[in-house]
């Protein structure tokens, strides 16, 4: 095997605060890290035409998304001097107030982690084949579109 293994970024349901806390804890043994940057996407209870979002249900083209994420990951590692990079995205239903995206970068000096994290979030939103269906409290729904 010469190629790096393609990771699966998807988890069923919300990313829990406990999971995020544990991920942070796991980095305490990496003593060359000086800064971590984290982005969390949380589901808003948006009001659209008088209806309120209760949850977003995510589906994806999983194989393509993981391959594309692998490309993005390699490009970011080539561009920034990172120690670690972790990305998790929810599949299935995630209720308002819950977290559906967790991007976590670490580096020796803060700038690389901060810039890489921001670029990753933009790439994930624009390039990964993932779709969110906004489920309203009145049982109707609409398909979300990223701006």
């Amino acid at each position: 095997m010469t190629e790096k293994k393609i990771k699966n970024i998807f988890i069923a349901g919300p990313v829990t605060a406990d999971f995020i806390g544990k991920s942070i804890q796991n980095h305490s043994s990496k003593k060359d890290i000086g800064g971590h940057s984290i982005f969390l996407g949380q589901i808003r209870a948006d009001k659209i035409d008088g209806k309120e979002v209760a949850a977003i249900e995510y589906t994806c083209y999983e194989e393509m998304a993981n391959e594309k994420m692998h490309e993005i990951r390699e490009a970011i590692f080539a561009k920034y001097n990172l120690t670690c990079m972790h990305v998790y995205h929810s599949l299935g239903k995630v209720a308002t107030g819950e977290i559906s995206l967790f991007v976590f970068t670490s580096s020796k000096h803060r700038k690389a982690a901060i810039n890489a994290c921001e670029e990753l979030v933009e790439n994930i939103k624009s390039s990964l084949p993932i779709w969110g269906k906004e489920l309203f409290t009145n049982e109707t729904y609409q398909w979300k579109e990223n701006k």
């Binding site: 589906t59 083209y61 995205h89």
Partner: protein, 77 residues
């Protein structure tokens, strides 16, 4: 020759199908036209096409057992 078609998000929603296998389709343009004949709602949909998981930007010849995916605008995150 067989081509596997996958529809995602609102495209699967409006057509009622998420996987189809078609025979004897030459390229992506003719495949899309044929799909739009079967599912007229697709004519008003916005999507990009991925052939074997790579997004294409022009008409592309299809090969036996390839997978064509119709991808509506992404909304992850």
């Amino acid at each position: 020759m067989k081509v596997h078609i996958m529809l995602f998000g609102q495209l699967a929603d409006i057509t009622g199908v998420d996987k189809i296998t078609v025979e004897n389709t030459l390229d992506t343009d003719s495949m899309v036209k044929s799909l739009q004949n079967t599912y007229p709602s697709l004519t008003q949909s916005t999507f990009v096409i991925a052939v074997d998981k790579k997004i294409i930007s022009a008409n592309t010849l299809l090969t036996d057992q390839c997978t064509v995916a119709l991808l509506p605008p992404f909304s992850g995150g």
